[in-house]
């Protein structure tokens, strides 16, 4: 055997041995003991906690670099523990006035920012005002603006800043010694949840030294509505009180590096370092997890089968979430200027008119034409629930006994026969169900619904079309979407955020659907100001019944999942964490 053949044989043998599965990864010891690496799809938009309105940014900053006045108690979204405040204001401890409008937070002493300077009540006030008056278009400022000032935006229709609002806010948020008092316009039950999630405290002194707003009305215009994310010094730099300090946000390699804050006011974090990497390709993320180069990765439901059975990997499923999906029917569709998704735009068997879904019998027909069991089995792999209205399971206000429609061909047929005095049944129709491109779960839901509707009457024709997010925005603004499937994630852990979006005449979804039910509007406005949980529950239950009767939307409550290496310790779930990990209590063993 000559040399070349021997070499070739040796190479093939070596490759065969390697491919036989003798890899270093499986059953391996903990890799990078003191560093936690999270590989996720997407990337943060900013490190500024008052600019950010996306999960990826919050994953880095919220409760890691910056902290809030109170925090969630364990896995609860309705109970709180002190954080930068030493108490959770309540009527019992005198921290909340009896009229439910004034909250007093006693600010913790001995807490230092990452630059070593002490946090004071002035920093808290500055942070709240900064959050409110940054007020960028499409930002989260309304979350505090609404309860404190009763407005959603600080500018008029022409874009001019209303500086009188600052004077009002300055009076509403007062500092006295080590306490901060916040007086709301009206009692607002979700307020503590908002504080737990959105009251990130930054250093006023440091901010001003970096050229940021100086805290006065005179320079407010510079702060208000920045044009670009990097118009604020907090964009890529951080100085908070959190258990981790921001070392670097490298947008070139799409990595964010956090390091343990050794001067933290509580016990230091167990992890020395946290690295969050943007890895868009699921194949690469999966392999990184398998090899131990990532300790946790983001996984969509349809990607789950590819990580099941991986040695050394832990999957936590059936997690409650503060999000759901809706199948929305638009009551006033714009058919002018051509709308391919409504066919001819007339009830002639080849299309639908703009008010097609305005008939409640049509909506009830649709709701009873959806095979819910097949949908949950095939689309959600039985990891989902039929919604009982817009409030997700587990939230105060969700009524597990609320009646909802079931898949029933006879009733669906009866509803369609009833619609428009039988005209719809006799003439037939054609329209398109739309969902966002790339979301195979929602595509599946659309197809199950299509199948159900078409099975009732051969004259019923339904198409399914995926659209990009950009197209969705255009169609949404022009009210051209006949029936679309999209989701909602809570801004704060209160059912009010859901009913407002789904049922108020000015809600994000219901407003676009052209829905207007004065009773629903009134209940939603009442439930905002009502602080008694029992009364709120009763109001939410009524809204649930309205949701059933009016059935403008069919809701699906999905469950969340997390995928991590089994050497990860200290992880726990809270629905308010949305898609985030809370790194402070975590370690690797």
């Amino acid at each position: 055997m000559n040399f070349r053949r021997k070499l070739l044989t040796l190479l093939v043998f070596a490759l065969a041995v390697s491919l036989a599965g003798v890899t270093a990864a499986q059953g391996q010891a903990v890799k990078n003991q003191d560093t936690f690496i999270y590989a996720a799809f997407g990337e943060a938009e900013t490190m500024d906690p008052h600019y950010a309105y996306d999960d990826a940014s919050h994953q880095v900053t919220l409760w890691h670099v910056y902290e809030t006045l109170v925090f969630f108690n364990g896995s609860s979204t309705g109970q709180f523990v002190p954080m930068l405040s030493t108490t959770v204001p309540s009527v019992q401890n005198g921290g909340l006035s009896r009229d439910g409008k004034t909250y007093t937070f006693r600010i913790r002493s001995g807490v230092k920012f990452h630059d070593g300077t002490a946090m004071t009540a002035e920093d808290v006030k500055y942070s709240l005002l900064r959050f409110m008056f940054m007020d960028r278009d499409g930002g989260p400022s309304w979350i505090f603006l609404q309860p404190i000032l009763g407005v959603d935006v600080t500018r008029d229709d022409k874009g001019t800043l209303n500086t009188a609002l600052f004077t009002e806010a300055d009076r509403a948020i007062r500092v006295q010694g080590d306490t901060v008092t916040i007086t709301l316009k009206s009692p607002f039950a979700p307020f503590m949840g908002i504080v737990a999630q959105w009251s990130s405290v930054v250093s006023k002194k440091w901010a001003i030294a970096q050229g940021d707003w100086n805290g006065t009305a005179a320079t407010l215009r510079r702060l208000n509505n920045p044009t670009k994310p990097d118009d604020t010094p907090f964009f890529s730099k951080g100085n908070g009180t959190g258990p981790f300090r921001l070392v670097e946000w490298d947008r070139g390699t799409r990595q964010t590096i956090l390091e343990r804050n050794t001067g933290y006011w509580r016990a230091p974090a167990k992890l020395r370092r946290v690295i969050i990497r943007g890895v868009d390709d699921f194949g690469a993320r999966r392999l990184m997890l398998q090899q131990g180069d990532a300790d946790a990765i983001s996984v969509n439901r349809n990607e789950l089968p590819q990580v099941e059975g991986l040695p050394g990997v832990r999957i936590v499923d059936d997690l409650s979430t503060l999000s759901n999906v809706g199948v929305f029917m638009t009551l006033k569709i714009d058919t002018t200027g051509g709308n391919p998704d409504v066919g001819s735009g007339r009830l002639d068997g080849n299309g639908i008119p703009g008010d097609f879904f305005a008939d409640v019998n049509v909506r009830r027909g649709i709701a009873q034409a959806l095979d819910y069991n097949t949908m949950l089995r095939d689309c959600y792999r039985n990891k989902g629930f039929v919604g009982r209205g817009p409030i997700p399971r587990g939230m105060l206000g969700h009524n597990t006994n609320q009646r909802w429609y079931e898949f029933n061909r006879e009733r669906a047929t009866a509803a369609f026969r009833e619609a428009r005095g039988g005209q719809i049944w006799n003439t037939g129709f054609k329209f398109t169900i739309l969902h966002n491109a790339g979301n195979t779960v929602r595509e599946c839901v659309a197809r199950v619904l299509k199948s159900g509707i078409e099975s009732l009457n051969p004259k019923f024709q339904v198409d399914v079309r995926s659209i990009t997010w950009a197209t969705y925005l255009a169609q949404y603004r022009q009210s051209k979407l006949p029936l679309f499937i999209i989701g909602w994630g809570a801004d704060y852990p209160d059912a009010e955020n859901f009913v407002a979006a789904y049922q108020h005449s000015k809600g994000t979804y219901s407003g676009a659907q052209g829905y207007n039910n004065p009773e629903a509007d009134k209940l939603i406005e009442q439930v905002r100001n009502e602080t008694d949980p029992a009364k709120r529950r009763a109001m939410f239950y009524k809204l649930g019944e309205i949701a059933y009767n009016d059935v403008i939307t069919i809701n699906i409550d999905a469950v969340g999942l997390r995928v991590m290496r089994s050497w990860v310790r200290g992880w726990y779930h809270n629905p308010a964490f949305l898609h985030q990990y809370n790194f402070y209590p975590m370690s690797k063993q």
């Binding site: 990864a25 309105y53 499409g138 990097d230 890895v279 868009d280 690469a284 997010w469």
Partner: protein, 341 residues
């Protein structure tokens, strides 16, 4: 030649701006709400669509938007890329070195192996090496780059843990970020050598191996076939027969007389390959999580990040013109019959 080169260089900015006019013209087909999608990324922001459109002038006539952008460019500002989370010029500076590094390490083996294999296949026509090269060419070309990339990632990283994705290992990455390492060029292998850190050089090479192998496999097939065809054509020529008749050694006939004359189509393909690599290879960069300019450009286009797309298009237009100019110069060098007019 100097006049020729100067003339071509003058064309560079004209081509670049021509590309931007084309992009802005295409904007006509996009509704303002669609262009707002790069700023409104989740349903919770839907109520701000009107405000966003007003804020960024997205409903302005396209010539107004173009003039606003042009004014910024003349003051040195290519705009903000929402997808890169930085200015367009910073994004090019951040992502291009990675792609350049990938190109350097992929282009050389593609050319060397491609030309060598193509030449050998032609010289030993219908022998074993010719058949083997043909089988490899067809096999390599049959599968798209993402299949090769995934296969290489799954086997060489997933199974063997040889070539991980990304640019550096954790340890190397942390060292590079420490104050002890100076980034001169952001080309990691080069910077490692300049810093005298051989282990980082090897680490960077290890991370380059996967994408380089993918690109080599995918690009080499066509080069082998073109080189083989060109060589066969040249080997049939009278002057080659004469050279052999004069008693010259076969390697001298092939290397000095034949190969040089077969290089014109190879140069064409090589320059196109180079421009294609240096403009960014989206799929390979995405699969291996390699932070190059191609991945960013594709993502910017997908997200309708207009400043990002415009900046990326201008940059690749400049690279394309420069690449073609290099090819023209090489033609003149290898073939004296060609004079640059």
């Amino acid at each position: 030649m100097t006049t020729y080169i100067a003339r071509r260089l003058v064309l560079l900015p004209l081509v670049a701006f021509g590309v931007t006019i084309l992009i802005f013209a295409l904007l006509q087909f996009l509704a303002p709400e669609m262009r707002a999608s790069v700023f409104i990324t989740n349903p919770n922001q839907l109520s701000a669509i009107d405000a966003i459109i007003r804020k960024y002038g997205l409903d302005q006539p396209v010539y107004v938007q173009y003039w606003t952008w042009l004014r910024e460019v003349f003051s040195g500002n290519l705009g903000w890329s929402q997808t890169a989370r930085m200015s367009v010029s910073d994004a090019i500076g951040a992502f291009f070195p990675a792609t350049l590094e990938l190109t350097m390490y992929a282009f050389i083996p593609i050319m060397i192996i491609g030309v060598w294999l193509g030449t050998s296949a032609a010289v030993h026509r219908d022998e074993l090496i010719d058949h083997v090269s043909r089988v490899f060419s067809i096999s390599f070309r049959s599968l798209p780059s993402f299949v090769w990339g995934l296969l290489i990632l799954m086997v060489l990283y997933g199974r063997l843990n040889w070539f991980p994705p990304g640019r550096l290992s954790l340890e190397a990455d942390l060292f590079v970020r420490s104050g002890e390492f100076h980034r001169y060029t952001n080309v990691m292998t080069l910077d490692a050598l300049l810093n005298g850190q051989g282990w980082i050089f090897l680490d960077a090479l290890r991370h380059l191996a996967g994408p380089v192998l993918t690109l080599t496999i995918v690009s080499i097939a066509l080069l082998v076939r073109i080189t083989r065809s060109a060589m066969l054509e040249v080997l049939r020529q009278d002057y080659v027969r004469t050279a052999r008749a004069k008693g010259l050694d076969e390697p001298v006939v092939i290397n000095r007389h034949a190969r040089k004359n077969a290089l014109i189509p190879v140069i064409t393909l090589g320059s196109l390959t180079f421009v294609g690599l240096v403009g960014g290879v989206v799929i390979t960069e995405t699969i291996f999580n390699f932070p190059g300019i191609g991945r960013w450009g594709a993502f910017a286009a997908q997200q309708l990040d207009i400043p990002g797309v415009t900046g990326f298009a201008m940059f690749t237009a400049i690279l394309t013109v420069a690449g073609n100019l290099m090819a023209d110069i090489l033609y003149a060098y290898f073939d004296p019959r060609i004079r640059l007019q």
